[in-house]
């Protein structure tokens, strides 16, 4: 049942740095491929993914399109029901039927920032309206002048000054970067402890991407946990303490960001890193990204082996029959690959 709202807990509890915020345990998500009544075909979009995020910490999930990174994020907002596995927020299973968390209770703690700041704001409402809504719903104790003051504080926090003028504007009067700041202010205004940022900067101008990343880093300082979804492994290293690399629904390598990006052990991570264009590097300087094909498999519940088999330069016979176990290669750095074992 709904628990009474603890008003003192909001907007942000600052004394919670090391507490475990979110745990994902063996998450599996299947999607139906057809509508057959019997013998329905499924694809496995996410397979056996586990991670945890602490307050004030960011985890980046890196991978190419279709690797299941957004699906993970959506499962955390309960947009997709998990086929198996547990999603725990502050130790409480968000899908537990016996003790079901209401959607608003979940939304108060978990908020999302989307890729497209042009699509995520309503063009016919002012910025004030966009921020009032979540505050009224999730912080109902704020009324009148207190509500206005809190809203302005949120705008100032994300660097939209003068806040008073910005609040009266409509989304079309703001630039892409400013709109994304509104989206962040809106997420933070609920008092959210945990923010899912799904490619938050990929549609923004290069010159303002860093501003948004730095803003999110400041939010981290205040104890908000982030799940940062991206295909840009360089910004993952810049923003997130920990990085997980996903391939076809599997986490293939994860751990501390610097360790994963500087000493990649899984062939897929090595491929990703060698493909990143780097300022100051000349064409042809990185020929190590040889792959044996670019067939990305469709993963089914009964598929076997390592998903990277079809592209892996170091493939052996064992790889197509068995999924490699987890190998710890450094204090906080794990890989699933027989080669590393």
């Amino acid at each position: 049942m709904n628990q009474p709202v603890n008003l003192e807990e909001f907007p942000v509890n600052r004394e919670s740095r090391s507490e475990q915020l979110l745990q994902v345990e063996d998450l599996v998500i299947d999607f139906a491929l057809d509508n057959a009544l019997f013998k329905r075909q499924y694809m496995r979009a996410v397979n056996g993914v586990s991670f945890d995020i602490r307050a004030g910490e960011a985890l980046a999930i890196v991978g190419e399109s279709g690797s299941g990174k957004s699906t993970c994020a959506r499962a955390l907002t309960r947009l997709y029901p998990p086929t198996a596995g547990k999603l725990k927020l502050n130790g409480r299973d968000i899908n537990d039927k016996a003790d079901l968390m209401s959607q608003s209770e979940l939304a108060k703690q978990v908020q999302m920032i989307f890729q497209d700041p042009f699509g995520s704001l309503n063009p016919v409402h002012t910025i004030r309206h966009h921020l009032y809504r979540p505050i009224k719903i999730h912080q109902p104790h704020l009324k009148g002048a207190a509500l206005e003051a809190y809203m302005l504080e949120m705008l100032e926090k994300v660097g939209l000054t003068p806040a008073q003028q910005t609040a009266d504007k409509y989304p079309h009067e703001l630039s892409g970067g400013q709109r994304q700041r509104v989206a962040i202010a809106r997420a933070v205004a609920t008092g959210a402890r945990f923010i899912l940022a799904d490619e938050p900067i990929s549609m923004l101008d290069v010159s303002i991407r860093l501003g948004i990343l730095n803003l999110m880093a400041d939010m981290k300082e205040e104890g908000i946990g982030f799940l940062y979804i991206t295909h840009d492994i360089a910004t993952a290293r810049y923003f997130a303490e920990r990085t997980a690399v996903m391939y076809v629904g599997h986490m293939v390598e994860w751990g501390e960001s610097d360790s994963v990006t500087q000493q990649p052990r899984h062939p897929y991570t090595q491929l990703l890193l060698s493909a990143v264009p780097e300022v100051g590097r000349k064409r042809g300087a990185q020929k190590s990204c040889a792959t044996t094909g670019n067939q990305i498999p469709l993963w089914k519940p009964d598929s076997k082996g390592c998903p990277f088999v079809s592209r892996c330069p170091k493939v052996s016979e064992r790889c197509s029959n068995e999924m490699p176990g987890v190998t710890q290669v450094a204090e906080d750095h794990f890989v699933r690959c027989f080669e590393v074992e």
Partner: protein, 314 residues
């Protein structure tokens, strides 16, 4: 070249001069709205109202593209200069097969039989690594990377001398992007076309281009040899842009990027357009527009900045 859009007369491209030599790859960098795509459209004379060219000329092998008749333009576009657009994923017609789209291009420009055109189409698809059996596929049956390859095949089929690529790989994954760029370079070595490569990704650009022009608010602010420009950027904007990308191998430090927002072209200042966001802005910058000039007699680098000109900045 001076080019004006009509929505309140925003000067999208302002006095930009650029040469592209045969077989050369020139990059145009800058953020959205700096005029780099507008310039590309103008080169193929593809702009339409409310865009208006108010001055300058575009010479292709000595002939002014802007003064060509419709007939001449048809011969020029695609046969001599082709384009790969930003949304190349959507540049293909969804209701006809890719084979037909390739054949159409050949038939429209050359006096050949349908059979010959088909042969050409198959050969070109194979050039970009797509099997001939895909001729009868519709665009939606292909992945984003394959669609991009088809678009490149179409751009190449008449063996143009110049290919204008406007953010060709922005929508693609890094691994696919790398594959396509490598392939494009093999083809370039084979056929010797020139490329005008437009992107905001300076990392990729530094790897593949010979020269880079950096644009800000419609003006060319720096132009030079790409390797040199990447290692020793002179204009404050170029330096800011280069610092906007977290590196993957370099030291990890907090980067500041470029403060402020892009310039509103409807409300431009008197002096340097970058003044509001420049950390080294001086009095002269506020009042006088800097010229794009050679700053060093030893190198062909052109920079448009008072401070660099006077040797104050590095």
């Amino acid at each position: 070249m001076d080019y004006v859009t009509d929505s309140g007369n925003a000067r999208a491209v302002n006095n930009v001069s650029l040469d592209i030599f045969p077989g050369e790859t020139v990059g145009l960098a800058g953020e959205s709205g700096c005029g780099k795509s507008t310039l590309a459209f103008a080169i193929a004379n593809l702009h339409s109202a409310p865009a208006l060219i108010t001055g300058g000329e575009i010479l292709f092998e000595g002939q002014d593209v802007l003064k060509m008749s419709d007939e001449e333009l048809r011969g020029f576009r695609w046969a001599k200069a082709s384009m790969v657009f930003q949304s190349a994923m959507n540049a293909l017609n969804p209701v006809i097969t890719i084979g037909e789209q390739l054949v159409d291009v050949v038939l429209a420009h050359e006096d050949v039989t349908l059979e010959q055109a088909k042969e050409r189409a198959v050969a070109n698809l194979e050039l970009v690594g797509i099997h001939a059996s895909r001729m009868n596929s519709y665009p939606h049956q292909l992945s984003g990377g394959m669609r991009q390859r088809v678009v490149i095949a179409i751009a190449l089929i008449l063996r143009p001398k110049l290919i204008i690529m406007d953010e060709p790989t922005t929508a693609l994954d890094v691994v696919v992007e790398r594959d396509i760029m490598d392939q494009l370079y093999e083809l370039k070595e084979e056929f010797g076309f020139a490329i005008l490569f437009i992107s905001h990704d300076l990392g990729l650009m530094g790897e593949i281009t010979d020269r880079i022009g950096v644009m800000y608010a419609g003006k060319m602010v720096e132009l030079g040899d790409s390797e040199e420009l990447m290692s020793h950027p002179r204009h404050p904007y170029t330096r800011g842009l280069l610092k906007s990308f977290p590196t993957i191998f370099g030291p990890k430090e907090r980067l500041e990027g470029i403060p402020g927002n892009p310039l509103n072209l409807l409300d431009v200042p008197n002096g340097c357009y970058f003044q509001a966001r420049c950390s080294e802005c001086a009095d002269i910058c506020i009042n006088t527009m800097p010229e794009l000039v050679a700053v060093d007699s030893q190198s062909p680098r052109l920079v448009s900045c008072h401070l660099v000109e006077r040797g104050v900045a590095q």
